[in-house]
Symmetry: C2
Subunit: 220 residues, 2 copies
DNA sequence: CTATTTGAACTGACCAGTCAGTTCAGTTAG
DNA sequence: CTAACTGAACTGACTGGTCAGTTCAAATAG
């Protein structure tokens, strides 16, 4: 009965060095490390096979943790996924916002953002898959989460487009919202296609294709 | 071992209902009608809740048919979905190909195609959801199906882009493949966003936003 | 007569969520 | 210094339920 293995908790807890801990209350090292590993494991699995196609047991096993731990750290599978989405968007937002104000040229700034989005998709290949497979389900389990996160992402893109519109003469007959959606869609689909079907395509090439939208928006 | 051999619909499924013209093998009306209803029911349900989130019993009930009938007409749930994807793409392809040669102006032709894609998404709102939620899964249950269908759709878009490139001066530094993916992605995401989050957006507005890509491709 | 459909029973696998028990890094008490 | 204690973190067997796929005898349509 008591043959429970030492489990190699190992205390090799990465020190969360410098990682900007959120506004959360200070939590024990172990828990954060565990959550982190659960995020990584579930991102990978869910990105590949979809939220419904992955079991909590698999996630736990991949994270080197027991099933109970998943339910200790998250209330439910659904909760885990909601937090996973939030986690990924937070990372992406941080990267995009770091670009703002790096350059004075709005178009160059935009290019850098699209490029950064591609870099993000290289680093977290599964996030975009999770995003596109669960978004647009109505009414979906995470509708409210998506509505919120989508607004946050579009706000950043929207601000960048706004700066372009302020600095250049643009085609005012194009609706801003639809344009943002088009950019967003092009980024995700071009990125996913590169990952899945055309890994030989270079990042610059993909960025250039997406930026074609902005070149069409600006009146030359 | 099944007692009654399920009808191997094979690759050529007569998708258009109503015309009794020359089906090679004699197939009673009933079968086609049943298949049609199963397609409609499963498109609806799977589009909303995902392939894994819908049960065969539900599909059968929604189609007003028994579970046994599903397995008589299709060998498995997986098979049903594969044929469903093929069915949807066939419809979309037919609509897009009907545009080709309608106009002499390649850009106008392109606009009409994008518009037609939006009309298609209005009529079959669930198809795009199914497409984006199951595509890009590697290795997925329907990888080979997607590879094939994707190539067929991209061929049509590619031909349209080719005609633009032949009729106008275009930015040759843009890779054709990435550009096609960007167009494809913009269409799907703009369309889905309209359905799901912004139903007030007009179709023209959405088409115009997508066409911004082409305006950026053409050198003015 | 044959192809198709029905409906219900059945199997075997799979799975989300629970809970009583275990571990262990501290903390306090002697 | 060390023994007792604490409680957060973790464990994994177990439960109650679901579902894909099978089978088949009987009904129905062409």
């Amino acid at each position: 009965m008591s043959t429970t293995e030492p489990v190699a908790t190992d205390s090799t807890s990465d020190s969360t060095a410098g990682s900007a801990s959120g506004s959360k209350k200070l939590r024990p090292e172990r828990t954060n490390a565990t959550k982190q590993r659960l995020f990584e494991a579930s991102m990978e699995l869910i990105g590949e096979r979809g939220a419904a196609g992955v079991t909590v047991d698999e996630i736990a096993a991949a994270a080197g943790v027991s099933k109970g731990t998943v339910y200790y750290n998250f209330g439910s599978k659904s909760d885990l996924i909601a937090q996973l989405l939030r986690h990924g968007v937070d990372i992406m937002l941080a990267r995009l916002q770091a670009i703002e104000g790096q350059t004075n040229d709005p178009l160059e700034s935009m290019t850098n953002m699209v490029d950064q989005a591609m870099v993000f998709m290289d680093k977290y290949p599964s996030f975009a898959r999770l995003w596109v497979s669960e978004n647009w389900r109505m009414p979906g389990e995470w509708s409210s989460v998506f509505t919120e996160l989508r607004a946050e992402l579009l706000a950043v893109i929207g601000a960048a487009v706004e700066r372009v519109a302020a600095g250049y003469q643009v085609d005012t007959s194009i609706a801003r919202g639809s344009l943002e959606a088009a950019i967003f869609g092009a980024i995700f689909v071009v990125g996913l296609d590169r990952q899945t079907y055309n890994p030989e395509r270079s990042r610059e090439q993909c960025v250039a294709a997406v930026m074609t939208i902005m070149h069409g928006y600006v009146i030359k």
